[in-house]
């Protein structure tokens, strides 16, 4: 039977929680025995996804929640970052390199490009009730115990 495990955590959409989210995911996926490079890629992708929620999801001051879920299935980690914010109007445009909806704030517009480069697969679902980013990465030399 394939190795299987998950964790879920919810926190407020504040920038101070970005470091917490990165460390949280990194600590959880250590059980797959990833390389330092793989861990850093995952931490960066999580940071980009959480930053998007912090910066864009709740624009009217009242910061809502971010739900972060990690699932391990075999040697693959799947990370879901979900908010209940205003949503992304044009997902295709948002995924274009260097596109930012806030050019006056010195933003690089490379968040999705970084996620796509560092993970194997990135999916974005969004409507006016919120946004979900689901991304996965296969850990190349993963070693984990088979569980019943």
């Amino acid at each position: 039977m394939k190795y299987s495990n998950f964790m879920e955590v919810t926190f407020k959409a504040l920038s101070i929680n970005e470091g917490f989210a990165r460390v949280c995911v990194a600590s959880f996926c250590v059980q797959l025995n990833p390389s330092v490079d793989e861990i850093t890629d995952i931490k960066t992708a999580v940071s980009e996804a959480v930053t998007n929620c912090v910066v864009h999801a709740y624009p009217n001051g009242n910061k809502g929640d971010i739900k972060l879920r990690c699932e391990l299935e075999g040697g693959t980690i799947t990370i879901t970052v979900q908010d209940k914010g205003v949503g992304i109007k044009d997902i295709e445009k948002a995924r274009e390199p260097f596109y930012t909806s806030k050019p006056s704030e010195e933003r690089s517009g490379m968040g999705f490009t970084v996620m796509e480069s560092f993970m194997d697969n990135v999916e974005v679902f969004s409507n006016s009730f919120g946004t979900t980013i689901k991304m996965s990465k296969k850990i190349l030399n993963s070693s984990c115990e088979v569980v019943g």
Partner: protein, 102 residues
């Protein structure tokens, strides 16, 4: 984020220590802008040897500083990036405006 600096041979050396993300971006921007306003150097070297994490927010911070100093004809160089920072710099083409020096 901790930022250390010194001027030597007309060069402002800046050492970024810690993590550069959305949470530390604002402090990093304002501290660098304060340092960059002093007129006692002709080039800037940003040393990343003590930077333990950076995401694309860091790229926005660096490009913003480049734009400000470009008008004053003061070039900015990057030194000692981690393998990971280097990956992001290459992906975004940052080295084209802030070359890497050894």
């Amino acid at each position: 984020m901790q930022i250390k600096s010194r001027v030597h041979n007309n060069t402002l050396y800046v050492l970024l220590c810690g993590e550069l993300d959305e949470h530390t971006a604002s402090y990093t921007k304002s501290t660098l802008d304060e340092l960059f306003v002093k007129p006692n150097f002709q080039k800037i070297v940003i040393d990343l040897s003590e930077l333990s994490f950076m995401d694309s927010t860091g790229i926005g911070v660096l490009i913003g500083r480049y734009k400000k100093m470009k008008g004053k004809n003061i070039p900015i160089f990057i030194c000692n990036p981690s393998q990971h920072a280097e990956k992001i710099f290459k992906m975004t083409g940052l080295y084209e405006i802030m070359p890497k020096i050894v």
